[in-house]
């Protein structure tokens, strides 16, 4: 899904779904998306953060067990991830194998 959207559309969707700030976010990008990285950086985010340290992970097929507590995935979780509970429109809460809460943002909505 993240490959199909423009950089601006991904940023708009994350902001609209979560009402969270982009500036200051430690962001892991799972695909080589320089246009998205440059826009995030110009908005004050920190793209290029390691997956385990990221507040926000953008990509598809993300392994929930590799994320820190409270991390937000904009895209999709790996197949087999435990189903989530609705938190708000377009956001679901999941528990990974370590018992930590993580959140998934549906960019398709």
């Amino acid at each position: 899904m993240t490959r199909l959207l423009s950089a601006q559309a991904v940023i708009q969707a994350v902001s609209r779904r979560t009402n969270l700030l982009i500036a200051g976010k430690r962001v892991a990008l799972l695909t080589d998306t320089p246009a998205l990285a440059s826009r995030l950086r110009a908005m004050g985010a920190h793209p290029g953060t390691a997956l385990a340290e990221a507040d926000l992970v953008i990509g598809d097929g993300v392994d929930p067990d590799s994320l820190k507590p409270g991390a937000i995935v904009a895209g999709t979780l790996a197949p087999g991830a435990a189903p989530g509970a609705r938190v708000r429109d377009g956001v679901t809460r999941h528990r990974n194998a370590h018992g930590h809460e993580i959140f998934a943002v549906d960019l398709a909505c």
Partner: protein
């Protein structure tokens, strides 16, 4: 006090949204254990959405009797319902007229408040105009445009209570106005308009903190940004930030997206509207009523968009991030609302003369320090030699 809300049955949705906001507000959470407002009556007049609901609940947990009011155009009915469900009286319904909003504000004031938190100073000024201050010890004001008339009242001797200028705290204005309003207004305008900003021209009227934030975020998304300013210092700043500076009438024909970020009525006047190119979008960031001068009703195109002689007005010229989205981002409001909580406690514990007062620097630093801790940022300590140097005032 009986609440006046649209639908109490909406509380579950509101509660979910409040829980999400609370999760991302570590500063207010850290302060909650130390606030002492036992038995004090506090009125909150803020955009009624999940973040401000977290402030209301935090003040209630600190012992205050909290009453919430908000104009209808900025009220989320599900959040209002969730607050009432949690035992906080609310006087706010979406869709109310300005006259109805004023009636609800009068009911708030007649409750006999000890402190008032206001956004735009509408209710502070109403209380003065109608002699409804009652036992009010003071107020805290959230916005630049709200402080401006209060400073005029203070200069003329008409301000009868102390007002904390929460807006002017560094932890507020350097973050809320720049990053929060900048991000949320630009992205809300793009959601409404459907514009792809890459390669487009974004004109920003006003280069204060809000205008700087709008310009920064528009440029980040690939726009060419042009700034219009009446203040030579702000114009110089825009120039040195690498932005073109033009009078608004000259910039308008280039604009694909025009923001008014001045907080001054009639910023985008008829003469500017006449020279907008067909298809241009116009939005207000921050804002006061009337920043877009008399645009008329317009032709509805889709929700939040009306057409006016070939150009499009977003969110009826109301502040676009509050009218058409969820307002400022959660983490930003964690800073601003934490300052509000400390301002209320300060007002109720410290006798102050009627005037507009800056928040004590120690409270500002406390909020910033808590936020830095929550982010895991480590600060450089001040050495004894540095402290001695600074102490000499050199």
């Amino acid at each position: 006090m009986l609440s006046d809300i649209a639908d109490p049955g909406l509380w579950r949705d509101g509660e979910d949204r409040i829980a999400w906001a609370r999760r991302h507000m570590p500063v207010l959470d850290a302060l909650s254990g130390s606030l002492d407002l036992d038995g004090r009556r506090v009125g909150l007049v803020l955009v009624l959405e999940p973040k401000t609901a977290v402030l209301a609940l935090t003040l209630k947990d600190a012992g205050a009797e909290v009453v919430v009011h908000c104009p209808g155009r900025e009220t989320s009915d599900d959040v209002a319902a969730a607050l009432v469900h949690a035992g906080v009286p609310v006087l706010a319904r979406s869709g109310t007229t300005r006259a109805q909003d004023d009636d609800l504000a009068r009911r708030l004031l007649d409750h006999g408040l000890d402190a008032l938190v206001d956004d735009g100073s509408r209710v502070i000024r109403l209380a003065h105009a109608e002699d409804r201050l009652g036992p009010l010890s003071g107020a805290a004001e959230e916005t630049t445009s709200g402080l401006r008339p209060l400073r005029v009242m203070a200069a003329s001797g008409d301000l009868r209570i102390p007002v904390m200028a929460v807006n002017d705290a560094r932890s507020k204005t350097l973050f809320d106005n720049v990053y929060g309003t900048g991000q949320s207004c630009v992205l809300a305008a793009l959601d409404l308009s459907g514009l792809d900003l890459d390669g487009r021209t974004c004109v920003v009227a006003g280069y204060g903190h809000v205008g700087q934030g709008v310009a920064r975020h528009a440029a980040a998304l690939g726009a060419r940004v042009v700034v219009s300013e009446v203040d030579p210092v702000a114009a110089l700043r825009a120039h040195h930030d690498g932005l073109r500076v033009l009078p608004l009438a000259e910039a308008c024909p280039e604009a694909d997206l025009l923001f008014s970020a001045t907080g001054v009525a009639a910023t985008v006047a008829a003469e500017h509207q006449r020279v907008l190119k067909p298809g241009a979008y116009v939005a207000v960031a921050g804002g006061v009523p009337g920043e877009i001068e008399n645009p008329g009703a317009g032709r509805p195109v889709r929700p939040g968009v009306t057409e006016h002689d070939g150009w499009y007005l977003l969110a009826d010229g109301d502040c676009v991030n509050c009218a058409a989205a969820e307002g400022n981002p959660i983490e930003i409001m964690d800073l601003s609302l934490s300052l509000q909580a400390l301002a209320v406690e300060h007002l109720l514990s410290t006798p102050l003369p009627p005037a507009v007062h800056l928040l004590p620097a120690g409270l500002d630093d406390r909020v910033a320090r808590l936020k830095a801790q929550a982010l895991g940022l480590r600060l450089e300590p001040v050495s004894d030699l540095q402290r001695e140097f600074l102490g000499r005032g050199l």
